[in-house]
């Protein structure tokens, strides 16, 4: 494949990843959120496969398949099941309203660009320009965890951060060594089971998955 076209395709996929990140910030419904997360994973997976193909790095195919099975199929499925079981369908309460969150998101994108600019100059890879997007995705995931008060949303924010990190690894270095990639995937899998258990605990203890209710532990005077 022509290196120029490949670079354009990866840029385009990076833009889509960023778009899904923002869409997740704006999305109020739980199912919509999970679906967007799955889409993001899909774009990442395609991107990884293309980078692997262009750069001739075959271990990236494994990462790609791993992402596909874990983040596009398994995790969204688990989340869907949990949402259905726990009967979460109300709209998510937000601490900051959506347009404000969006503006903060844009500021974060600019900040990430600024932060990664020196790194990009040093890189010679096809994917170098997507590093800023990757960091921005991490930051937006973080923003989502801060501004949403629902346990499920916070977890999705967490997973979106993980997506951003995976993306960063692909765009900065054509992926981490396979051992590390596999280990990270394992950790995510364990985390998924843990939050699954957690949702039930929180739900039975607090009768809701609203994190605001968990504010008993404070500094007492």
């Amino acid at each position: 494949m022509d290196i120029n076209i490949a670079s354009q395709i990866t840029s385009f996929l990076a833009a889509l990843v960023l778009l899904t990140a923002f869409a997740m910030l704006a999305q109020r419904r739980m199912y919509g959120l999970v679906n967007l997360f799955a889409w993001q994973g899909l774009f990442l997976s395609i991107n990884t496969a293309i980078v692997g193909f262009v750069a001739g790095k075959h271990h990236l195919y494994i990462s790609s398949v791993l992402t596909l099975s874990l983040k596009v199929i398994l995790l969204p499925y688990i989340l869907h099941v949990l949402i259905r079981r726990l009967k979460v369908h109300k709209e998510v309460e937000m601490v900051v309203n959506i347009p404000m969150t969006m503006l903060i998101g844009i500021a974060l994108v600019i900040f990430s660009y600024h932060l990664t600019a020196p790194v990009m100059e040093l890189s010679t890879l096809v994917t170098r320009s997507t590093l800023a997007v990757a960091l921005a995705t991490v930051m937006i995931g973080l923003l989502m965890m801060i501004t949403r008060r629902h346990a499920v949303t916070q977890i999705i924010g967490f997973l979106a951060m993980e997506n951003g990190l995976f993306f960063a690894a692909t765009s900065a270095t054509y992926g981490m060594p396979l051992v590390v990639e596999l280990g990270v995937a394992l950790d995510i899998l364990i985390a998924a089971f843990i939050f699954g258990i957690f949702f039930f605990h929180i739900n039975t203890t607090f009768d809701s998955l609203d994190v605001d209710q968990m504010a008993r532990l404070k500094e007492e005077d």
Binding site: V119, L122, M161, P177, A191
Partner: protein, 481 residues
Amino acid sequence: MLLILLLVPLFAAVILAFVGDRKFAPEINIIGSAATFVAGAGLALQVFEQGPMLAGKNFFFVDAFNVYLAVLTSFVSMTTAIFSRRYMRREREHGRIGHIRIRFYHAMFQLFIFAMLLCLLTNNIGVLWIAMELATLSTVLLVSLYRTPTAIEAAWKYFILCGVGISQALFGTVLLYFAAEKVLGEGGEALLWTNLNKVSGSLEPTVLSLAFVFLMVGYGTKVGLVPLHNWLPDAHSEGPTPISAVLSGLLLNVALYALVRCKVLVDGSTGTHHAGNIMMGFGLLSILVAAFSLLRQKDIKRMFSYSSIEHMGIATFAFGLGGPIATFGALLHMLVHSLAKSAIFFTVGHASQMHRTQDMDKIMGLFKGNPLVGWGLMFGVMAIVGMPPFGVFTSEFLILTATIKDAPWLTPFLLLGLGVAFAALFRRVQPMVSGDVPPHQKPMKAAHVPVILHMALVLMLGIYMPGFLNNWFHTAVELLK
């Protein structure tokens, strides 16, 4: 020997998962931990005789810095296992936990030990990250073991905040790999710490400075440095006491170890004191904030978690300061703090079981009620605030000396922090240990061995430093320079 050390806890975790809540499960837990400790001691002996070594296709390595932490980890996990036998039995009698949770507790305890040892012994900074995350994940559900609303809240906070923090560390690791790949080529070799250390001079300084900021935030969250410490007091106070002991005594050390390992690489690359300054800033802030927070605490375990933040702040500050004396002091401080703090948590666990509360206002008359617990707590607190002749005094004295020499203008802040912490802890502990036995205090049999053993070691380290330990510390100081 190294592989045995790693395999024993993993194996024990599997066995304990199957054994479940049989009568002899705690004993298996103790045996597993003891075997781990024996393997650790064996490894230490090997390192003592042969010097640093690599194993498993360069995947693991031991040097003076991590071997003592590995031995410490296996030792404290052993004593904690001994303590937890009596403690958990009591908890079951009180009906706070059932069969399934006991099974879970034991298996996860061993898995946690495995994760920490893997973290310490791996040569690959990517695996270091994975092990660190695994250590977090394995303890999350232990913190929420009691399933009370506060316990679940604490565990959720722990899970989310540490998850976020550790993600930043992964980004830092990616950047590190990015820089390393340029010098060492692609593949797993480029993430091996030993290789990186050899070529650290030629790694790109701008990338490494940026990477360190992320690593600092990431691992700093796990160390519990202010302002990233929010999860720590909650997680340490709401979980079962044995878990508080290993979290405070071991996990914080391991996180600090990861941070220091990365700092060495960054220093080698940038050739400046940039990373050190960041660490000093975080460290000093942690000392001061934690010391003043100590004054406001009512919950006994919460208070001692703040004390852990303070001490981790001291060690971070000292590593940041650099220089042979400060680094030596920091290494010693990590050792004695973890011994003293876990001993304190053992006694605190018993004290709160006796009173069925963690509220300090309701705990009193420990000297008369149970002399071991009372005096153990008293001596533990004396040790932790840095009174001579305990080991903490030695390490804090070294760090203070180095500060006066290298950064005199920071000395008043450091002294202020230490002074406030001293006053705060004593003010609280005095009424708890003295006085008459209150009616709601129930007598119980305490676990003697761990407390006495730990306190004896802390005392010994204050008076006499064994030759081999001295040697290791000096080698480690050379290594970290």
